[in-house]
Symmetry: C2
Subunit: 382 residues, 2 copies
Amino acid sequence: MTQKDLSVIGACMQGAPAAVGDVLADVDTPALLIDLDAFEDNLARVHARILQAGLLVRPHGKAHKTPAIAHLQLAAGAHGICCQKVSEAEVFVQAGIKDVLITNQIVGTRKAARLAVLAGQAKIGVCVDHALQVEQIGHALRSQGTQLDVLVEIDIGHARCGVIDGDQALALAQAIAQYAPHLNFKGIHAFRGSAQHMRQPEQRAAAVTSAVEKVRSIVQQLEAADFACPVITGGGTGTYGYEADSALYTEVQPGSYALMDTDYAANKLEVGSAPLRHALFGLCTVISMQPGHAVLDGGLKAFAVDQGLPRIELPGWSVKTLSDEHTTIVPGPDAVPLQVGDKVRIIPSHCDPTVNLHDWLIAIRGDVVQQAWPVLARGALF
Amino acid sequence: MTQKDLSVIGACMQGAPAAVGDVLADVDTPALLIDLDAFEDNLARVHARILQAGLLVRPHGKAHKTPAIAHLQLAAGAHGICCQKVSEAEVFVQAGIKDVLITNQIVGTRKAARLAVLAGQAKIGVCVDHALQVEQIGHALRSQGTQLDVLVEIDIGHARCGVIDGDQALALAQAIAQYAPHLNFKGIHAFRGSAQHMRQPEQRAAAVTSAVEKVRSIVQQLEAADFACPVITGGGTGTYGYEADSALYTEVQPGSYALMDTDYAANKLEVGSAPLRHALFGLCTVISMQPGHAVLDGGLKAFAVDQGLPRIELPGWSVKTLSDEHTTIVPGPDAVPLQVGDKVRIIPSHCDPTVNLHDWLIAIRGDVVQQAWPVLARGALF
């Protein structure tokens, strides 16, 4: 398996469902739309909140997997992006993004080799929580002669990746130092996915407060051993305000904020806080109807359902069920009239895995297509 | 939007996670494996059951979206395949499949135009359940000068697409006849998705018996009006034996049988019937561990969860939760030892939407990679 084999790009992406200048009625379905007014508004508000607190914004590319969006986020004040996979980071780097943090652990010599090559093409960071990871990426970077920033991940309550205490963190910082200058310890990654969708703001605030205590204590232990932690990064769309005010985090990684979904919209907000706007919509065509139900031309292969059913934006109608390529909707007493051929909007329940089902995002302003953005990192699993 | 735009293929498919000759330890993760021994066994058994009853086998391509697999199904006795979308059918036709039935309704002039072109390249069939569909595809086929087989879909209990009685069916057959020879009425499509996973065989048998009664009565009404129904097609992996013995169906469309998943494996089988073999497996690497849990490098973007959690094939371990790119597993009292870097197998809970997340299927015999099959129709939504 040569490096060329590892990175070869095949040719089987679907053609776009719309072209610049099309009106919504012309967009083929099922498609994903980005409402540019809402998207730009979300970027402006969240970036301002974080930047005004003196932190850096590093939006998560896993939510959109689309270099065009990453470039807009950088233009709106972000200083780099996050990815979750080496192959995902490659796509963004190939599209001109020069600073990518992989917020994940890399295990496997093939991945380590790709990472080592990538580290020669842009400023790349990665997370570790186990000695084997340090060994594999250390060897690969040393062989390739490139350099990589490394963060130790701390488990702050998500019970997924991350070391659990300062002793484990220190051991890793020491292991990383064995590979200097190819591996450079830069600080801490602390992210709690389970905090993002806690419905009450007090719950989210408490989760971040508890995380900050734990991280601060570990940072002190590392600094006492001469391991400075210039980067303390994490957070997300549910908690970014708390990281911003933490006087500890240096950087926040909101992902879904740009697009939104019904799961995040279900969070209760802080007093005085306005909700982020839905910027991501599915567009479907009604293909069949009988008294009592109608059928849309997009289903499980267009809308992720891990956080429940998507929501239809059609007064009086609700989503009953999804199968592979169909969504069945049912009318309530105030259901607006509908007929075969009509186009309807859907709000996805979870934006990240929904976007990952599509090859294109159709950016609209009002009713007119402005751009067709290819989701170039779709399916980037390695 | 020109025809070229509609069919342009971009270049952003991920490189394959394995090459021919690799051993399993070398396969990058998360990947989907096809166990060729199990796959060939499933094909042989199901095809024999259907063919010996005198029916045709038309496997559903939506399960695998992979032309290489369709060619193997044809070599094993299938006479054509099914798809659910025009863009899906295009991929199979471009790869040399000459007979494709689109088991779905097509609404939208862009789709109708693509369908009309496709109908000039292979033997294509489509389903209808509403006059607008007939009008749109009729116009398109007439403009293009091509010919298409058309089946009227009957709702046999799934409450999704399909006409509900003989009068609706007859009206459609008459509408189709207005576009002869461009549209050719060929009979009936009758599929009940909700019957496939009824757990007790008696329930599935009763569902098919009831469907057959309804379809037979509608066929009689059509024949009395001089609309012959040479094709009566439907069925699936849960019910194919009943369609085979129905003395009504002429063709069966099993899809998941080739690959299997935990949802189908939960069906109780007919007395004397052996289960189909799991031929589809996820392969993941353990990237992180703490006492009490381990983390794999594939999550929601590698395994669909609409039918529940996937199942890990590791004695004593069970799947606790999935997030975008991680699966968290937890050990029971008899858990086998595990370490970071180990590779583990997962059985998906629903094969169709799981395969649709991947660009490659890695076909293995024993522990050795025989083929890397590109999932060329992945994401074919239009």
